[in-house]
Every structure is written in structure tokens, then in C-alpha cells.
């Protein structure tokens, strides 16, 4: 069991603020400035700030992604400088989505950044695994896929980042949780669609079902940062929210407003949720058997190692 080293030492509560950005398409500096204004309005008690996917450029960029993609260190430095300009030397952790240029290979990425008084550290960089390339989406035409789902230690315990479609494949939050993540950070940009629902767009309803399922099944907090604003007629659905490990949506933003969503995560809820519904523990015991199912398309050689 790896439980002991995945818990936040001494921190039971984490004050989270989600900045539901409404970016101006392609105007990186303007959007960075808006983030600075959000930092100024965010309130005093904040430990972790979450931004959506593509929060500083807009999502639908097509070929312009090559103009706007950034090296991760440059993006981290810009975020840290903007934070310090607004909040001085106060420490904070940030998670934010951006288009990454890694020496000419382009990714839809999000980084987890710790900002101290005079330095910043990229704690983790996640590259989106599942690039939607169907219907209105065209990511894989312009971007490369991430190849690894990492979990990482923070001041508040172990976490994982899943970008948008990553979270729609149930096995991704599952693997994150099995690898010790107690908080799932999900930057997203979801164009709304489906008007046959009852009071909400169907895509919003589906998102919430997906997020609640992930939280309940694994006993994790879910912090969902949704982009808002229209992009060429496609309306991003916002609805940034925090879901506790029992599956309760404890706060949720509206679809259309640039918003700051504030909530406090009481990390002790994770243990209570897992005590009452120990599905994650059950899964850890059975998962090896499931993965060694010879009907599964495992990479060549993997089964040979186990069979030896």
C-alpha cells in the first residue's frame, strides 16, 4: 500500500480557486493580463488556482497553434511573473492548460506550477493523451499525443492532471487513482451541444455524470476548470466545478460567465469516502488479473515478462 506517502503532510484543507477564463482568441498577452486581474480578485485564502485548457489562447486555433505554442518554461515564467505582480511574494500552486512547443513537437498540455517568493518550479507537465479528432474537433491534425499519465506529489498530496477527453475514458482516472492521485485536476474546453436535455445542454449533463462517476468510483476530489466564451459560434460551456469524493458537486460556475469558483477541499473526506465505498482498494487487488487478460491488446512483450 502506498497510502502513507500520498497524503498531504499536515494539510487537511486546500483552498482552491478555479479561474473560468473567457479568453480573447489568440491574444496571449491580453489573456495573461486578464489572469492577473483574476489573481487580484481571487481573495486572500487561496492555495491552488486552476485554469482551463487553452486558457490563454482560446481552444480552436487550427494552424495558428504553431504561432501561439510556448515552451513550458516560458509559460511557467509568464504565469509566475503575473502572479507576483498581482500578489507579491505569496506562495501559490497553479495548474493551467496551454499549447506547448517542445523543440518543434506540439502538444495540448497543462502544467502544475509551484510559485514561491522568488522562484517557480514546474512540478508536473501533462500532455493530453486523447486528442479528439472527430466532428468539430481536429486536434491530432495539429498536435502530438502525450504518452504517459503521471501522478505527482504536491504540497497537498498526490494529484494527476487529465485534459478534457482524457477524463472521458474511464480507465484514465482509474489509473491515476491507482497510482495514488487523491485529487484529479481537469482543465477542459467543451463546446456545448445537445438541446434535447432538461434545463441544460446535454454536453454539460454528460460532463457532470462523467466527473461524478470518477469522483465516486475512486474516492477522489475532482477540480474541473472549464473554458467559457464563444469561439466562432461554438460556445464553451464553463461549468467549472468541484466534486467531492462522495460525488457531491460542491460548487459550480455558470456556463457563460468569466468566473472565479472558490471552494475548500477537506482532504479528510477522501478517507471517509473510501471507507464507505472501498472500490479503489478492491480494484487494486483485482487490476493485475484484469490487465493480464490475454484477450486484451497489451503491448508485445509485456505478457512475456509476466509469464516468465
Amino acid at each position: 500500500m502506498a497510502a502513507a506517502d500520498t497524503r498531504a503532510p499536515g494539510r487537511a484543507r486546500v483552498a482552491v480557486a478555479i479561474v473560468q477564463m473567457k479568453p480573447v482568441k489568440g491574444r496571449y498577452d491580453e489573456n495573461l493580463h486578464a489572469a492577473g486581474e483574476a489573481f487580484a480578485q481571487i481573495g486572500d485564502a487561496v492555495d491552488l488556482v486552476a485554469f482551463p485548457e487553452a486558457a490563454f489562447t482560446g481552444y480552436f486555433l487550427e494552424g495558428a497553434v504553431y504561432d501561439l505554442a510556448l515552451d513550458a518554461r516560458r509559460f511557467a515564467a509568464d504565469l509566475a511573473r503575473t502572479w507576483r505582480a498581482a500578489r507579491g511574494e505569496r506562495a501559490v500552486d497553479l495548474v493551467a492548460g496551454f499549447f506547448e512547443n517542445d523543440d518543434g513537437t506540439y502538444y495540448n498540455s497543462a502544467l502544475y506550477l509551484h510559485i514561491a517568493a522568488d522562484s517557480e518550479q514546474i512540478v508536473h507537465l501533462h500532455r493530453k493523451l486523447f486528442l479528439p479528432t472527430y466532428g468539430v474537433f481536429d486536434e491530432e491534425r495539429f498536435l502530438s499525443r502525450g504518452r504517459k499519465l503521471g501522478t505527482f506529489e504536491t504540497r497537498f498530496g498526490r494529484m494527476a492532471i487529465l485534459i478534457c477527453e482524457d477524463a472521458w475514458h474511464a480507465i484514465v482516472p482509474t489509473i491515476a487513482a491507482v497510482k495514488g492521485a487523491r485529487v484529479l485536476l481537469i482543465p477542459s474546453a467543451s463546446p456545448g451541444r445537445g438541446i434535447e436535455g432538461d434545463g441544460e445542454l446535454l454536453s454539460i449533463v454528460r460532463w457532470r455524470q462523467t466527473l461524478v462517476s470518477a469522483a465516486v468510483e475512486h474516492g477522489v476530489f475532482v477540480v474541473y476548470a472549464g473554458l467559457t466564451g464563444f469561439e466562432g459560434g461554438k460556445g464553451m460551456t464553463g461549468n467549472s466545478c468541484v466534486i467531492d469524493p462522495h460525488g457531491n458537486v460542491i460548487v459550480q460556475a455558470p456556463a457563460a460567465d468569466a468566473s472565479i469558483v472558490r471552494a475548500e477541499l477537506d482532504l479528510r473526506e477522501i478517507d471517509l469516502a473510501r471507507a464507505s465505498l472501498p472500490l479503489l482498494g478492491d480494484l487494486e487487488a483485482v487490476l493485475p488479473d484484469l490487465l493480464l487478460d490475454e484477450e486484451l491488446p497489451l503491448p508485445r512483450g509485456v505478457r512475456d515478462v509476466y509469464d516468465r
Binding site: A38, Q41, V251, A258, I260, R262
Partner: protein, 283 residues
Amino acid sequence: MTFTIVEAPANTPRPPGIDCAVTAEWLTAFLRDELLFRRNVSRAVVGLSGGVDSAVTAYLCARALGPKNVYAIRLPYATSSPASLSDAQLVVDALGIHCDTIAITDAVDGYLQFEPDADARRRGNVMARTRMVILFDQSAKLGALPIGTGNKTERMLGYFTWHADDTPPLNPIGDLFKTQVWALARYLGVPRPLIDKAPSADLEADQTDEADLGITYARADALLCELLHGYNDEQLVEHGFSADEVALVRRRVDATHWKRHLPTTAMLTNTAINEFYLRPVDY
């Protein structure tokens, strides 16, 4: 750019909620299944005190079995409030169920005349156990089953007489907190006087549950709900309960743990009942 601030609501203690329609339907199915199909009994006996718990139980039984198969029995003692009798009558009239009134005064005093020093608690326990003797005997006479009326709040706080209120083999409302019973009562159409009056065991003059317990049902239910979900005392205080409330409820729950179990039996063999010999109740 100005951002709209959206705050998570503060975690203020709230009594547990209830979907009354779903609950009523579920409990009606429970009573039908246990009585008609599992035990082949079509009649129910309910001790109707004039309070909301037994009223809700009677309403559920009437739904499950039809009013003609429900036998309400009023069991007053000499000092019982007259309002208890008249409030019970409101339920009988509203449902059209059978009703009998059997005073327990002679039976209780027949014993207590030899125990002049018995305090209120002992006297109350004798009354509660006498009532149960009668409910079981009336059930035997009618070919019925007595139905329990204890709610979850009083069960968790141990606010009941062991092997009296908790004795009937079926209890439809034992997993409902008192505030949920009130909500269900409103949904079922229980007469307002029974819902609006201060709950009382009616074992002594001017007695009320909340005065006895030292906490309101609304606060107790909200606290119990969180306590049962595993929150520790520190977290309960963080959630808005006072340290005194937490201590009071925790003390009552812990001190009455034994009342929620069968008697402790010394195990001597490897066939000890409920230790080695294990069979579910519906086996």
C-alpha cells in the same frame, strides 16, 4: 476584466433530507414483503401513542395491508395526557383502521404498588414493557404481527426502553431520523396536531423528548448524520456544531451502544449462535 465570484456554500449543519414519495413506496413494499410474503401474516398491530412515529407507522401499514387489516391499540396509563388519546383518535378516524383502548394502569400499578420507591425512569420502563406485553398478546389473539415505531434518532441516542419499544420484529421507520419522520408524516397526511406538538414519551407530566435529551431533534439529526458518516469530533465542530452538542450526542451514542444489540451471550462451543452458527434473518 471582472470575474463573477462563485463560492462553495459554507458547510452548515442540516438535518438529513428525504424523498418522501420514494420512501413511502419503499416502506410500503417492505411491509408487504415481510408480512404477506415472508411471514404469511396479513394483519398488523400498532401501539398508537398519539405521537408522530406511531401515526406514520399506522399510515404505512394501512397503505401496505389496507386499513381493515390494521389494528391500532391505545395503551394509556392513569397519568397519560388526554391529548394523546384524542390525537391517536384523529389517526384512527382518518385511516378507518380498527382501534381498541386498553388501560395499563391496573397492570402497572399491580406491580409498582410493591415498589413505592421506584423513580420516574423505572416507572417509565415498567409502563413501556407492559405496553409491549399487551401488543404481543393482542397480536397473538388477532393473528397479527406487532410493528415497531422507534425512529433512528431515539435508537442512536438510546432514548428508548430496551426490550420494550425495540421489540417488534418489524420496524419500517427505524432507519429514519425524527426530522425525516416529520417530513414523511406531512407527506402521508398525518393530522397536523400530531406533527406540530412537541414530541413526548408521555411517561411523566409535561415531559418532552427535546428537554430530556438536551438538544433539539433538528440539531441532533444533523449531528448524528455526520457522526455516522465517520466525522470525528474536531470535524463536527468545524462543521458548526458546538463542542457541548458533540460531547452530548457522542456520549449518548457510545453509552447506549449495547442497547442496539441482542444480549451478550457467553460463547462456550464452536456452535455458538450468531458466532459460529450464522444464518441471515430471512434464511
